[in-house]
Each structure stands twice: as structure tokens, then as C-alpha cells.
């Protein structure tokens, strides 16, 4: 007697199912496949994460930047990260945006809200990475800084216009990154540090 479910038929059906599910998954409009972000690197002292308190940061910033009008420090504790990882998260944030909006760098001008959105994504991506790897009650200190361009800095002219930057706290002190020109500097060497008007963490 011939059995209705031969091995051959089962194999054919399985192939059809594999091809079908492979097709639907790869063509789902609501799904993205992303490379993993670089693993987080935080600064530790005696085996514990090096932390700074939000209130202390606020006072330090007021002292360091007397022109600051707006300071928003939302969390209680912040941690230091390595400069290498800070740069790695910059690259990954750009990759994350480009994966969704591939034509973004072909535009004549970046979208109006680009810098602030980039910074918010970057800060949250860094915090997600840390929260998944370490058991630390502290936030990565990555925020948005606004400073007037009174002095030239590389490709940026001294036109007096306010510009937005990413600011991050690393083992080498604060790092300032200008997203459209991809220039990076330490806070100490940033030429317009005396014209900073706002920092939001």
C-alpha cells in the first residue's frame, strides 16, 4: 500500500514553507536588521563605576561656562565612558539613522531637527547598551550643547550663529562633537567654549 505522506512530499512541503517564511520575514515593512552597537566601555575605579552627581555637574558647568543660560540635568547620577566608545556610539547612531533614511546624506541640508534628534538617539542608545551589560544606577553623560560660533573651528566659520553639538564625558574630560562637519575636540580645546549658551543632558 502506498502511504500518502511520502518523505519526498514532506521534503517538498518543508521547502515551500521555508521559502515562504523567509520571503515574508525579509520583506516585512516594519522590520529592520541592524548590526549590533559596539559593546559599552565605562570607567571604573576600584571595580566600581566612576559616577558624578547631577547637582555637582550643574555647579561645575555654571562655573566653567559663565555664559550658560540653560542647564538641564535630568538624572541623579552620571557615569564616565571611554573616548573610544563615545566615538563608536557616534558612528553607530549615524548608521542607525542611515539605515532608516538612506537618502539623508544626499540632501543639500540636513533635516532641521537633525542635531538634537541625533543626540537624543545617541544618549539613549548608549544607555540601552550600558543597562544591558552593567548593573549601574547611573546615566551615560551625553547631551546637547549650544554655543555661538564666535571663533572659527575647522570647517565652521566665525559667523556668530548658535550651533548645536554633542557633549559627552569621557576619561579624557568632556568631548565636543559637531555632527554636520564630523569635527571632534576635547572641551578644553573647543574654541567656542566661552560662548556656550545651553547644555541639556
Amino acid at each position: 500500500m502506498k502511504h500518502p505522506f511520502t518523505i519526498k512530499k514532506i521534503c517538498i512541503n518543508l521547502s515551500v514553507l521555508i521559502v515562504f517564511f523567509g520571503y515574508t520575514e525579509s520583506h516585512a515593512a516594519d522590520t529592520m536588521f541592524l548590526q549590533k552597537a559596539p559593546p559599552p566601555e565605562i570607567i571604573a575605579v576600584s571595580g566600581k563605576a566612576k559616577l558624578l552627581y547631577g547637582n555637582f555637574i550643574r555647579k561645575q558647568l555654571q562655573k566653567r561656562f559663565p555664559t550658560l543660560k540653560t542647564i538641564v540635568v535630568g538624572d541623579k547620577r552620571y557615569m564616565f565612558i571611554t573616548e573610544k566608545w563615545f566615538k563608536g556610539v557616534i558612528d553607530w547612531t549615524e548608521y542607525f539613522i542611515t539605515q532608516q533614511v538612506p537618502e539623508i546624506h544626499q540632501l543639500e541640508n540636513l533635516p532641521l531637527a537633525y542635531e538634537a534628534t541625533f543626540t537624543m538617539l545617541m544618549s539613549n542608545i548608549a544607555n540601552i547598551a550600558v543597562s544591558k551589560r552593567y548593573s549601574v544606577n547611573g546615566s551615560v553623560l551625553i547631551g546637547l550643547m549650544v554655543a555661538k560660533s564666535e571663533k572659527p573651528w575647522g570647517a565652521i566659520q566665525a559667523d556668530g550663529k548658535p550651533r548645536q553639538y554633542v557633549i559627552g564625558l569621557t576619561e579624557n574630560g568632556s568631548m565636543i562633537y559637531h555632527i554636520p562637519t564630523r569635527q571632534i575636540s576635547t572641551g578644553k580645546d573647543f574654541p567656542n567654549k566661552d560662548h556656550t549658551s545651553g547644555i541639556i543632558f
Partner: protein, 203 residues
């Protein structure tokens, strides 16, 4: 004779197993280690005027609305170079919230003091919404979606009355308050802590 009929089947079976093995490699091998799947909301849909054009609002109008409902409201922070903020269609906003929940499950992230708290839930959703709006070609505006700090005195959406961060959005139904941790939505006029909204961020 028997051997002759079995050979094509054996060759088919071997080929099939080979294809199966090749298909399985990206799912369980190197590719899975280096990459991950992330759910994303579908294409952004703006709220429309009767003539079919997208609806916009100014930051001043949003600020005025917040001031009207909250005596303690201090400031709306916004990028002065953006003149008009595009309104989200209510249906798309609801989809965004549902997919956000799936997305956070995909990446397996949970609430944790400072490192992933209410501010992170709110500002991340805000930034993701902006990227989806760019994806739909609206580069010269920004969504009328932001986040705010509230010194909550009453429990709402299952969260205790403490200093809290929430999302706000303007749709065809007006200014709405959203709890990004569970997707609950309420109109600003019905939000029990409306008078305790302190500051809002629209950038």
C-alpha cells in the same frame, strides 16, 4: 531495479538537506551574533486638513496650550529655527506606541534608575518618531511630538505620583498626554496632573 528507483530520491534528499543547512547558517551562525531584528512603525501619516494638505502647529501655540492648563508651567524648550511642527494622525500615533512596546521587547530593555528611566522612555520615543517623519520625506519640519516633566500629585496610567517624564503629541484630536511605558493616552484637558506640568521639550 530497486536501486535504480531509489537513486533519484536519495539525491533529492541529499540536495534538500544541503539547502536546509545553507538556509540555517545565517539564522543560527555568524549573522545572528552580529545583527539583530528590530520592529519599526510603518510610514508616518500626518493629520490632514480638509483640502488634503498636512496640518501644522507652531511652538508658541503649543506653549500657550500648556500654559493655559498648568499654572506651574515654566518653559517650552524648542529649536527656534523650526517654524512649524507637523501634526501626527491619531491612528499612526497609536501604531507608533504599539510598535515602540514591541521594539523595547525586541531589545529586551527594562526600567532601571537613571540609566533607563521615564526620561529615556520619553526622549527615545520622541527621537524615533522624528526619524520616521524624515523617512516620509518631511525634512523641513519636525513632528509636534515632545516630552515633558511633571511633578505628578495623582496616580495616572498605573504610575505613582512622583516627578515623572511623559510624552505629548498633537494630533487631529488636540494636545495629548502619553505614558510611553504602557501606551496610555489622554487629552490634556482630562490629564489628572495637567496643572503640575513643569517644562516641555520639543527638539
Amino acid at each position: 531495479m530497486k536501486k535504480l528507483t531509489q537513486r533519484p530520491f536519495m539525491s533529492f534528499l541529499i540536495n534538500f538537506l544541503l539547502i536546509l543547512a545553507l538556509l540555517a547558517i545565517p539564522a543560527s551562525g555568524v549573522a545572528k551574533e552580529a545583527s539583530f531584528k528590530l520592529s519599526m512603525p510603518t510610514e508616518f501619516i500626518p493629520a490632514m486638513d480638509k483640502d488634503g494638505s498636512p496640518q501644522y502647529i507652531t511652538a508658541e501655540q503649543i506653549e500657550k496650550t500648556l500654559q493655559h492648563h498648568s499654572k506651574g508651567f515654566k518653559k517650552l524648550y524648542w529649536n527656534k529655527t523650526i517654524k512649524h511642527f507637523i501634526l501626527t494622525r491619531h491612528g499612526w500615533l497609536k501604531e507608533l506606541l504599539a510598535v515602540y512596546n514591541i521594539m523595547l521587547n525586541d531589545i529586551n530593555v527594562h526600567a532601571k534608575a537613571d540609566v533607563w528611566d521615564c526620561e529615556n522612555f520619553s526622549s527615545f520615543l520622541n527621537a524615533l518618531a522624528t526619524v520616521r517623519i524624515w523617512k516620509s520625506g518631511y525634512y523641513d519640519t519636525r513632528g509636534a511630538i515632545g516630552w515633558m516633566r511633571v511633578d505628578a500629585k495623582k496616580e495616572w496610567a498605573g504610575l505613582p505620583p512622583v516627578m515623572h517624564a511623559l510624552v505629548f503629541a498633537v494630533t487631529e484630536y488636540g494636545l495629548l498626554v502619553i505614558e510611553p511605558q504602557n501606551g496610555q493616552i489622554v487629552e490634556l484637558k482630562d490629564y489628572p496632573n495637567k496643572e503640575f506640568i513643569q517644562e516641555a521639550f520639543l527638539f
